[in-house]
Amino acid sequence: MSEDIKKEAVRQYLHYFRIWFIVVGVLFVATIAAGISHYIRNNAPRGNTSAPTERIFDYADVLTDNEEEKLRIYIAKREKEYRVDFVVMTFSRAVEGNEAQKQYGYDSTEWEHNMMDIADNFWDENGFGFNKSFEGDGSVLIDNRYEGQRGEWLSTSGRVESSLSAWDVEDVLYAVDDYYDTDPYEAYKAYIDAVCMNLDGIMVSDFSGYWVGAIVITLVICGIYAGIHLRPNKAQKNVAVNAYVAGGKPMLRNKEDNFIRKNVVKRRIETSSGGGGGHHSSGGGGHHTSHSGASHGGGGHRH
């Protein structure tokens, strides 16, 4: 290949991929900027200094002292890593029915409503949140051990709220449920791990799915691209059947279509009735505003 042809080949190549190279270049710059910003953010001091330093409020005395200490260390490590607050609060009191409403001044007689209020209020009143008080990043898991009304509720705020969909909240609660009756310490640890996984988003929880998808899409696009450009330009035969006929059409000397016979077949149409169906309902946590006006997400499971 002569030098001129090589130069021309490079010129064609650069010209062809110019848009791609610009896009990749812009993304690269944006990624570097985001990386620097991320680094600065991650190394910035905690924004909220007014919240209590305690993260475990074991009013129902569910955990041993040793477990509480282990959980405290674990939460501290995860908070530093993910820069969100993880709070666990256990209690044991009625949250359902008229009597409980009267006694504790709940807005509702329903378990779900009151659990949600308790969780949201606990978060708001203590001013939790990693980056800022009240509406900052983090979540609280409250665990009610009152007999007959046992269950947990997860209240999310800030980045945790925006990162966790209703389905993600359900995933967190199911992770808690696995150990709820057998090992509360593991249950609370599972809550923290599950929230962290969801915070990781595509980087951890959906890592394999994202990359499998990305690889498949890349291969498919490359395959289609190569296929389109490798497709030969086949010439078509486009000679009309009368191209070589004098006058352009044949001389029809005889054209007869003589009716011979006919037959009729009858068929009864079967009618069928059917149909029906059903519906299903789905549940899950949703976004709402707490009494103090902060936005929360979350959901709960009753045991």
Partner: protein, 329 residues
């Protein structure tokens, strides 16, 4: 023979754009003067006396020394005199443009495939053809059905009517072309069709000046089978068209009988571009009248890998950076 310019002595050629003889040296028009060589040997250029390589069936070529276009009298006269010719209607520049247009999207073609230097090697060739005329009587006998369906209440009725179909037609085919050259691939020459016969004209050797040509080297009888097949296929298609509208047709008899036939010899214009890549030849043919192109571009494996790999790398980079952006923002 060759055509010399009365004004400057240069070689006058036929110009497809001007549709007349033209001297590319002094721009004179219709200034040609026929010069027949004095040497009885065909391999000696009558213009410069140089020795020219002449293949067995070549009837027109270019002298490699003086670049004059030469026409060999004994291969365009007598039994080899064409009765008709379609002169080139498209010049080399127009064909180069057509080829560039057609193959510009062939990304994986070698870089120099459409280069000026390579495309300049394109040669205009008059290909020998036999043209067949047939008078035919075509007959079709068969049984056709027409099906009608309707519903009344909860009963569906299907009525099938049967008809006896008779068709007799006379079809006169004129000038079904079949190439009479061993060198030209038959399927490619069939793809070159159709030619517009309104530009078919009486043969004059002037039309050959500026081009290469072959005399017929396959006899009419040897290639007629191809013409008959084309004729038969077209006749059958026209018979089928004549009884279209039936739901189904069962053939009892169909026949195409030739009542009269004749063959004539002529020349049709084809531009040939021969591209050699990795030791393999890739011929491209352009109909010198209509511009229809036949041929497949070669594939540069290096380009396939470079372009597809770059696309894959760009996509992967985009996916990686998007994932990082989502995680970091």
């Amino acid at each position: 023979m060759f055509f010399k310019c009365k004004n400057c002595g240069g070689n006058v050629v036929y110009s497809p754009e001007k549709h007349e003889m033209f001297c590319p040296f002094c721009d004179s028009e219709k200034s040609e003067e026929r010069e027949d060589g004095t040497s009885p040997e065909m391999t000696i250029c009558p213009n410069c006396g140089g020795e020219i390589p002449v293949e067995e069936h070549t009837s027109a070529t270019q002298c490699p020394y003086c670049d004059s276009y030469l026409i060999f009298n004994e291969r365009v006269e007598g039994e080899y005199e064409p009765k008709m010719i379609i002169p080139f209607q498209l010049g080399k520049e127009t064909c180069k443009k057509s080829i560039r247009e057609k193959f510009k999207r062939n990304l994986f073609a070698p870089t120099d495939f459409l280069s000026e230097v390579r495309l300049n090697s394109m040669q205009g060739i008059y290909v020998p053809y036999w043209f067949y005329d047939y008078d035919t009587q075509c007959i079709f006998r068969g049984e056709g059905t027409k099906v009608r369906t309707w519903t009344s209440g909860n009963t569906q009725y299907t009525e099938t009517s049967y008809y006896a179909i008779n068709r007799d037609m006379d079809i006169t085919f004129t000038k079904i072309p079949v190439d009479a050259s061993e060198k030209m691939p038959d399927d490619v020459m069939d793809f070159m069709e159709p030619y517009n016969y309104s530009q078919l004209t009486e043969f004059r050797p002037e039309y050959m000046s500026g081009f290469y040509a072959e005399k017929y080297n396959m006899l009419s009888d040897a290639v007629e089978e191809r013409a008959r097949k084309k004729m038969n296929d077209d006749a059958m298609a026209m018979l089928r068209e004549s009884y279209a509208g039936y739901s189904s047709v069962r053939t009892e008899r169909q026949d195409v009988q030739i009542t009269d036939s004749s063959a004539g010899y002529g020349l049709l214009p084809v531009w040939k571009y021969l591209y050699t890549y990795n030791g393999e030849e890739y011929p491209f043919y352009v109909n010198g009248q209509t511009g229809k192109i036949v041929g497949n571009a070669p594939v540069s494996q290096r380009k396939v890998w470079a372009y597809t790999g770059t696309l894959g790398a760009c996509l992967t980079a985009v996916f990686i950076m998007l994932s990082l952006l989502v995680a970091w923002l």
